[in-house]
């Protein structure tokens, strides 16, 4: 996690470099022994409100969820007796859970690559300093600020098989119309297209900031050595963007794995076998099937999936860091 966080600073100016601060950025009291008890109290006065909320709304649910996952607790309050790992073994042999995980992983794959590449291309183009900076930023970033309800409504309309723009465009170029959200296997791709449109602006801004932090000195030195524009792109720009690309990849994959809002709303709650993500299955098991114990077990399987991806990326990032 620290690697991820350290990488984030690559996206912006490094405040840790400010003068007048010890190595840990923490100030120790000069009269340490005497002041320490009062110091502890003061520290906890600062920390208290947050820690209460943190314990109540993160740590406790995290622990209680494990307990729930070992019971047959229902939403209505019935049940609640301890059933051991029953929910887990049921989940692991539940084909719907596996297709939901498969859908989620597939969605993550087909969104992450375009969301990184498109953002990079957008940022490189905007960073050339072409006129109309505010317009480019507005166009690419504005969708990111819209609620999932709004983007879902817009894209359901675009993907409407009879009157939607997507099919109008297809027929204009002489292609067969597609029932975007009503066709198995195509539905998740349609949701991915809407998601890419919606969220690419965030990555774009991170790339843009990183690009503007590359010292111009490097380009000048390279030019003196006779490097052309393409050579500079691949020898300076792309390598310099390494850390921020790592951060974007981590954030992006974790965000895509959490897919729910737009999938649920674009499918209008009626999930299809090929578009139901794992978070929606948690929701369905808990709030439609009233099985809180079972839904908790799926939550933890989902959490483990996120952890695996997170740890894998940390290892990859650390190795890359170590080699450079």
């Amino acid at each position: 996690m620290t690697d991820v966080m350290a990488g984030r600073s690559a996206a912006g100016p490094e405040p840790g470099a400010a003068p007048g601060e010890d190595s840990k950025g923490r100030r120790t009291s000069p009269t340490r022994g005497q002041a320490s008890r009062r110091g502890q109290l003061v520290a906890w006065a600062f920390l208290g409100p947050f820690m209460v909320a943190f314990l109540l709304f993160v740590i406790w649910p995290l622990i209680h969820g494990i307990y729930l996952s070992l019971t047959d607790q229902s939403l209505t309050g019935a049940g609640g007796s301890f059933i051991g790992l029953g929910n887990y073994s049921e989940a692991l042999s539940d084909p719907v859970m596996w297709t939901s995980i498969g859908n989620t992983v597939w969605f993550t794959l087909i969104t992450t690559v375009p969301l990184v590449l498109l953002a990079l291309i957008m940022a490189l183009l905007v960073n050339t300093g072409l006129p109309g900076q505010w317009l480019w930023r507005l166009s690419f970033f504005m969708p990111f600020l819209l609620a999932s309800t709004v983007i879902s409504q817009i894209w359901v309309w675009i993907f409407n098989p009879q009157i939607g723009a997507a099919n109008e465009i297809l027929s204009a170029v002489g292609l067969e119309p597609i029932a975007w959200l009503q066709t198995a296997n195509v539905d998740l791709i349609s949701i991915a297209i809407a998601t890419i449109w919606w969220t690419v602006g965030f990555n774009f801004l991170l790339y843009l900031a990183a690009l503007q932090n590359i010292p111009t000195l490097q380009y000048e030195a390279a030019a003196v050595d006779g490097a052309g524009p393409w050579r500079q792109l691949f020898s300076i720009t792309i390598p310099q963007l390494g850390p921020v690309t790592g951060v974007i990849l981590v954030l992006q994959m974790l965000a895509s794995l959490k897919l729910f809002d737009q999938a649920y709303q674009m499918m209008e709650g009626g999930s299809s076998e090929t578009s139901r993500p794992i978070v929606q299955y948690i929701f369905e098991a808990g709030f439609v099937g009233y099985r809180f114990g079972y839904a908790s077990a799926i939550s933890y399987i989902f959490f483990v999936l996120i952890l695996i991806v997170g740890i894998f990326q940390m290892v990859v990032l650390r190795n890359r860091k170590g080699s450079s």
Binding site: V58, I154, Y219
Partner: protein, 309 residues
């Protein structure tokens, strides 16, 4: 496409290595040595314009459709103005649905309260992690940062159960409280406080000010820009949050805008112009916020990397 992006002019005296404010990037801050005009530059411009158009069109189209008559909207077509001209019928119909105002108001004040609480408790805690010496500070900080990896979506079941036992299902507090813990904000603010020179605080402390006094009269005023950036982000997250409000609120009068609009969507399911008018209305507050605070928002994303759906 980006051949000009990295072109260099050796005689450019300006070596800019200071942190760059993305929001201020204008033509004056273009990469050194780019040619004012050339085939590559024109190509880059065309590519950019095409992409911008692709990204703007869905929004423009939603706006255009919301001003069409229902017949025109339902017959499809890509034309900007339908055969029956422009009408505000869709908006009138939506606004006649009295709950829209209630939902907007709910969204506004609950998002404001979430922002206020989140930023306050996070700033206090971040200051403790940054400056105060206490037992286990390192480990507690690590635990807070590690919690970033916990997806809120994985906690909905135990959180909902907790709200059931607290009797907070279908209440504003049930909606607000689980949204006030945002570990990334602690991290961002701690980094900022770390960079504030200790000398500034020492001066005040020599004058006899206590920690709390120093925090409120020295540190907080210095932190206004970062607190602003962070607040805008918390507000946007809260305003747009769907899953938790959707789960915890069933009472129509307590709903937030995204959830309320989602519930009536089926009622308007075939009324295309009304659906688009809804989308426009729901987006409007944030568009206004963005136009006013564009610099802070862009800077907030760029410097903190905070956000993410």
């Amino acid at each position: 496409m980006s051949s000009t992006a990295t072109a260099t002019r050796t005689d450019d005296p300006q070596v800019d290595v200071a942190p760059v404010d993305v929001t201020k990037v204008r033509r004056t801050n273009r990469m050194p040595g780019e040619k004012p005009l050339g085939p590559a530059r024109i190509l880059a411009f065309l590519a950019l314009a095409l992409m911008a158009l692709l990204w703007l069109l869905p929004m423009l189209w939603a706006i255009v459709t919301s001003f069409k008559t229902e017949t025109d909207a339902a017959s499809g077509g890509l034309e900007l103005i339908g055969p029956n001209g422009i009408t505000t019928q869709a908006y009138e119909a939506i606004l006649a649905e009295g709950n829209v105002y209630v939902w907007a108001l709910n969204s506004l004040w609950t998002s404001a309260v979430i922002t206020l609480i989140t930023v306050s408790i996070s700033a206090l805690a971040a200051y403790a992690f940054s400056r105060l010496d206490f037992k286990g500070s390192r480990w507690i900080f690590l635990a807070v940062i590690a919690s970033i990896i916990v997806p809120p979506q994985a906690l909905i079941i135990p959180l909902y159960y907790q709200m059931l036992t607290f009797n907070m299902v279908d209440t504003y507090w049930g909606l607000i409280l689980p949204q006030i813990v945002m570990a990334p904000i602690i991290f961002i603010l701690k980094k900022f406080f770390d960079a504030v020179p200790v000398e500034l605080e020492d001066a005040a402390r020599v004058d006899g000010a206590g920690r709390l006094r120093v925090f409120f009269s020295v540190v907080l005023p210095l932190s206004r820009p970062i607190l602003g950036a962070v607040s805008i982000f918390v507000f946007i997250q809260a305003w747009n949050n769907f899953l938790w409000p959707f789960l915890i609120i069933n009472d129509t009068t307590l709903m937030t805008l995204p959830v309320g609009l989602q519930t009536v969507l089926s009622a308007y399911g075939v009324q295309y112009s009304q659906v688009m008018a809804q989308a426009v209305l729901a987006a409007l507050p944030l568009v206004i916020v963005f136009l006013f605070y564009q610099r802070q928002i862009v800077k907030g994303v760029a410097t903190t990397g905070f956000g993410g759906q």
